[in-house]
């Protein structure tokens, strides 16, 4: 595996916009996210496959995945 392939993505959670519906947590195929109180937080960044499902299904414009 090359260095570039190992590079981790950057997940940005806009805490002011997150309403804690947990849609991103429930639909993440690799369990990267978790609920911390009423806001989503990143639990296991290494498992992220950059599938963007959290971004696509977030109703509140609150989460983004940067490569």
């Amino acid at each position: 595996m090359t260095e570039a392939a190992k590079k981790l993505p950057r997940i940005v959670v806009h805490e002011k916009l997150c309403k804690g519906c947990s849609i991103c947590v429930d639909f993440c195929p690799t369990n990267v996210l978790e609920m911390k109180g009423s806001i989503v937080a990143v639990k296991n960044l290494e498992a992220c496959t950059r599938c963007q499902l959290c971004d696509l299904r977030c109703p509140d414009f609150a989460i983004q995945v940067f490569d």
Binding site: K19, I23, P59, D60
Partner: protein, 286 residues
């Protein structure tokens, strides 16, 4: 690594879609409840508009009253927030006055099919060039969870405490029978498919109706014993629908009772504004 491979690698890098260029600054967070599907639909719509290549000033978004009808408040197009059920009538006026605008009507199931049912069917009959997006969450969310024309039979709501006895409307069949030349159905769960459907509906010339199944976890979900917004999305939008492309290949028992998803009807019919202009030219003897 060769230079060519490095370039190929670079192209793969994903950058999240920048929604801010289509949103009014300072308007977020929006009014919708936690888990409401309307935000997901709005994001799909903005991506579809971006792909269509339309400028912001070329679009006029018209809405009626209801949760879904709050959408124009957040987007940076020409916007109009009008009377309950009368969004398509205002949109007809906008389109006739300025035929060069792309008119997108954002309306809810109760707004379009009950309060404004008459306006809806006659707009479809005229085949005037506009895109009507019916956000169908099977409830009147804004006024406290009363049953709407798309509430499934047997479901609980604030005004049907022992289950709804009314059969529900099929919005797509209604639109097709009324004469709309493009009819499709998408869901908030299938966001990328919805984006493709919305792009096709925006590009279509004539009345295009897209029914978008999304969920209201606060009123519909709570009263019908759904545990979460994601459970509603899985049960109603994922398991409750089947793609129109797959429906022919699946055994009948797997299709029965499910809503079809995808482009359901597409036809070429004379468009109202063009016919109107033709009439004007004829009368003026051109």
């Amino acid at each position: 690594m060769s230079a060519g491979a490095a370039t190929a690698k670079k192209q793969k890098i994903s950058v999240p879609f920048d929604y801010s260029k289509y949103l009014r600054a300072g308007k977020l967070p929006h009014i919708w409840c936690p888990g409401c599907g309307h935000g997901i639909v709005l994001k799909s719509l903005l991506r579809a508009i971006d792909k269509s290549g339309l400028e912001k000033d070329q679009i006029c978004m018209v809405s009626g009253i209801g949760c879904s009808s709050r959408t124009p408040g957040y987007v940076d197009f020409n916007t109009l927030h009008t009377l309950h059920g009368r969004a398509v009538s205002y949109a007809t006026g906008v389109k006739l006055a300025k035929p060069e605008l792309k008119v997108i009507v954002v309306t809810g199931d109760g707004d379009a099919l009950a309060i404004g049912g008459n306006h809806f069917i006659h707009t479809c009959r005229r085949n005037i060039d506009m895109t009507i997006l019916v956000y169908s969450n099977a409830i009147y969310g804004m006024t406290g969870g009363q049953f709407s024309p798309t509430t499934p039979q047997g479901s609980m709501s604030t005004t049907s405490r022992y289950g709804n006895i009314e059969p529900s409307f099929d919005c797509c069949e209604l639109a097709k029978a009324s004469g709309a030349s493009f009819v499709a159905r998408g869901t908030a769960y299938h966001t990328q498919e919805l984006e493709r459907i919305l792009l096709r509906s925006i590009q279509h010339k004539g009345t295009s109706v897209v029914e978008i199944i999304d969920s209201c976890p606060v009123y519909y979900g709570r009263q019908n014993k759904f545990k979460s917004a994601s459970q509603m999305m899985e049960m109603i939008e994922k398991d409750g629908t089947v793609s129109v492309k797959q429906a022919d290949r699946l055994p009948p028992e797997k299709v029965e009772g499910k809503l079809l998803r995808g482009i359901l009807h597409e036809a070429e019919r004379p468009e109202y504004c063009e016919e109107y202009q033709r009439l004007i030219d004829k009368v003026h003897g051109k």
